[in-house]
Symmetry: C2
Subunit: 332 residues, 2 copies
């Protein structure tokens, strides 16, 4: 059986170009004992993948050149030599960026059986959703009534973070770009502030107008002016969960950091970076808390979908254009 997959032949500088991604086809070998063959139905593209294209170890190993890229995927078992995953089983795994995956059964997770579309396990109930919940509850230790600020608030992670925060009271403010994203936030009772065309001072003033008492928690996905403006608006004892710094992922040359880091001292701020994989043992707890609220419609989520394996690089590159909403997925 043939498998088609994407590779990169080089580690790009700056924003990757479409030409970086090469589509290949190969004949899969016969299954070995313990292996499973999966027809992928949904592929995930995520901002963290940019880090794996940098050729240096960040918090995950870089992608290997000229080797199938990796990423979250959901699919159905079509051939199996692992009794735990029989033909027809729905599974989640990391052999994305391809149509047919052949992997060891040990690398698979059976999909839970909640009444949600299967691709939800790549988004609101997958890695991005778990990231939102982990940052808010385990890292920032949000308390009931806390005022919460979220950057990239309509993204896959941010859109869940704002809803989880809103459910626990306090003022919740989301930073986003396009009018469409701002409207989505406002429709969910989140105060929306645009970052477009603003320097840190202007953004800071707008955040102050949205939440004059300041924030107890800042859920950081962006960095840059968002971080500087957020620091200006923190309350005593505020916690910053640093989930991502997408503003900088494509920088060739490092940019200067915020000029107001003294806020960390003045307001006794705790700023903590985290990687969701370090907390994955808590996934069952997340699923138990958030899964039913997704299934019953209490938690809303959006998807930006591209169709066809060939479009996977395009879906990925859109993450850096700010045109996606919610979870970005490829449907095969």
């Amino acid at each position: 059986m043939q498998s088609r997959y994407f590779t990169i032949g080089d580690y790009p500088q700056g924003t990757p170009q479409r030409e970086l991604f090469e589509l290949h086809e190969t004949e899969l070998p016969a299954l070995e004992d313990g292996e499973v063959r999966i027809r992928n139905t949904w592929l995930s593209v995520d901002p963290y993948m940019r880090g794996r294209m940098s050729g240096v170890k960040t918090y995950v190993e870089p992608f290997e050149l000229n080797t199938p890229l990796e990423g979250g995927a959901v699919g159905q078992v079509i051939e199996s030599r692992d009794a735990r995953f029989p033909m027809g089983a729905k599974v989640r795994h990391m052999a994305g960026w391809r149509d047919i995956a052949q992997v060891k059964g040990d690398t698979l997770e059976a999909l839970p059986t909640l009444e949600v579309p299967e691709q939800a396990y790549l988004g609101v109930l997958g890695m991005p959703g778990m990231t939102a919940w982990t940052g808010l509850h385990l890292v920032a230790e949000m308390r009931d009534g806390d005022n919460v600020l979220v950057s990239a608030a309509s993204g896959a992670v941010g859109s869940l973070a704002v809803q989880l925060a809103k459910a626990r009271g306090g003022t919740v403010v989301g930073i986003a770009g396009s009018q469409e994203k701002l409207d989505w936030l406002e429709a969910h009772a989140i105060k929306a502030v645009s970052y477009r065309g603003k320097d840190a001072g202007q953004l800071s003033a707008d955040l102050k107008a949205a939440c004059p008492e300041g924030f107890d928690v800042y859920y950081e996905n962006v960095g840059g002016v968002c971080l500087e403006a957020a620091l200006d608006n923190l309350r005593l004892g505020a916690r910053i969960a640093v989930c991502g710094l997408i503003a900088r992922y494509n920088d060739d040359v490092p940019s200067a950091g915020p000029s107001n880091l003294d806020v960390i001292l003045i307001q006794r701020v705790r700023m903590q970076g985290f990687i969701v994989l370090d907390h994955w043992s808590q996934y069952p707890r997340f699923l138990e808390e958030v899964g039913p609220r997704v299934a019953n419609g209490e938690i809303d989520y959006e998807e930006t979908i591209e169709d066809g394996l060939e479009r996977t690089p395009d879906a990925f590159l859109k993450l850096f254009e700010g045109t996606n909403r919610g979870k970005t997925l490829v449907r095969l």
Copy 2:
């Protein structure tokens, strides 16, 4: 009885000038019930006082203009209408910057009775010492064997932080300026690195040479290039205790922050600002742990002493010249 005291008549921009400080003399009123009169013997000057001269609330209220300045002091009761503090009692209090203090007994602490010079309660066993211990143990949660980096490592806070860290194993590196300070550190088995004339890249390379495995804890007193160089040398899960950012206290215009804040994400760093007053309830625990080690000579400390009330502003201003070592004090 006359009391002589210092005031400021204005909130300075940039580095304060000697002329800012005005010496006054006043006749003290008769003691009211509950009040105590103290002949100060030692006055403390500390970097945080610069923040109180800025006219804006930082983590403490600004000094009031044309009103006696405040600061740590040790002295002896010479008249009392509070039975808890009889004539001759040795006390610590915040009515410094003056020779004779007249305050409510509620604002006094009786000096502990360890075999140490009384001025130690303004330094190694006072606020700076408690700050070192708090940052290292309560904020950074240092573990045995951790590699620890301390900036301003020969200062009142840093010089205790490096010794406390060294006693718990691991490589301890101190950043300081003059050769004399570096020598002091090396004499205490601390690896010493000079920041003088270096940009962040050079300082980072020198820190790497001193501790190639990187640091688990960074005790931050300085900011600026020290912070940037330290970030480059952190290990996974490192903790930064932000005690001070003296590099910036006299800035008119905020300087840019470090360009490598992404380390916080990559290495899952926790960076936390703290103010020792928030932790003062732990002072007895600190005294119990550190006091005997100071009394028996196991912990070494240095003092930079100016003589006479008139020299108090000079002692204070030296804090920003980097010429002081250990705790800076005024002896009356």
